[in-house]
């Protein structure tokens, strides 16, 4: 059984790292997963956990994963928005766990949005990337 004493150990371990993170808030990347009835039924929860575990595994402390309700495009669920500071929002659709992990590595780590999973991306600021004009 897990004990509260273990939480104290976690507290001590993570305190330094957290103070470090507080200082650079402006490079915060946000991943927002649609988690209404439609999203959950389509498999959004494992997708959200995949985003989280992949970000944790890679020690991406500037990435926050959160959830939102239904935005009215239920047939495209599971969906997620990725907000990178200074860039336009990217909406990914029909996700699964593998796609979520690929978005973390290619978009968030390497800075190349995964065009084939997108529903919409304003072509202007990303005109140097291929295939997003259709």
């Amino acid at each position: 059984m897990k004990t509260m004493a273990e939480l104290e150990a976690i507290r001590k371990q993570t305190l330094d790292r957290i103070n470090l993170r507080k200082e650079d808030k402006e490079d915060e990347v946000r991943v927002v997963v649609g988690m209404a009835t439609c999203g959950i039924a389509a498999g959004a929860r494992p997708v959200m956990m995949a985003f989280l575990t992949e970000a944790t595994k890679r020690h991406l402390s500037n990435v926050t994963v959160s959830q939102t309700g239904c935005i009215g495009m239920c047939r495209y669920e599971p969906m997620a928005d990725v907000f990178v500071p200074g860039q336009n929002k990217v909406t990914y659709v029909n996700l699964d766990e593998g796609k979520a992990r690929r978005i973390i590595t290619e978009h968030i780590v390497n800075g190349n949005p995964v065009v084939e999973y997108m529903i919409a991306a304003d072509p202007k600021p990303m005109s140097d990337s291929k295939g997003d004009s259709k």
Partner: protein, 185 residues
């Protein structure tokens, strides 16, 4: 929805939308595999008129569409096992939803990944909200309370720290094993 934990994820979203600060979830397993799921929140509640329409799939607070499937889908699954669903609410006093499932009925969905449900709830709402999960069966009772976890962590370490989430997932799994092990999967 494939399992009960997904229904729970979904229904808690209603509490979050209702501005709740505390959401208390309890699962009690009694004789003959009767499982009672209670979600109690301190959100803004519903008036009698809304409450009367709450079982209909055409009732929702959302403005993007006119359907709301969370409660109807859960009720459907509960009724299919011989159980049912009941909502008690009044404005300013929060809402209590009770669903009963007979888990030995062939149409009862599996319990699913309750630990993942708790993790996603906490991750999505780390700042303002608290959750409790209590499990009860003839084997005993166990409880997880994010207010206690917050207290143990102090002010500087947030609830959504990956190590803390991992601890909570493990703690929930241990609880399920201890209380429901052998009876519910």
């Amino acid at each position: 929805m494939r399992d009960l934990s997904l229904h729970l994820t979904d229904l808690c979203q209603n509490s979050i939308q209702a501005g709740a600060q505390l959401v208390e979830v309890s699962l009690a397993l009694a004789d003959e595999g009767k499982l009672t799921l209670v979600i109690r929140d301190d959100g803004h509640g519903m008036d009698a008129d809304t409450l009367g329409r709450v079982h209909s799939p055409f009732t929702t607070h959302r403005t993007t569409r006119k359907v709301g499937m969370g409660i109807p889908l859960t009720e459907n699954n509960a009724v299919a096992t011989g159980g049912g669903l009941e909502v008690i609410s009044s404005p300013g006093k929060g809402t209590t939803l009770t669903a009963t499932f007979f888990t030995r009925h062939i149409d009862c969905p599996p319990l699913g990944d309750l630990a993942e449900t708790m993790a996603t709830l906490i991750l999505a709402n780390p700042e303002a909200m608290d959750f409790t999960l209590s499990l009860r069966s003839p084997k005993g009772e166990e409880r997880l309370d994010t207010r206690e976890i917050r207290q143990a962590l102090g002010e500087d370490v947030p609830l959504n720290t990956p190590e803390v989430v991992q601890w909570m997932i493990q703690a929930t799994q241990d609880m399920i094993q201890q209380i429901f092990g052998g009876e519910l999967q």
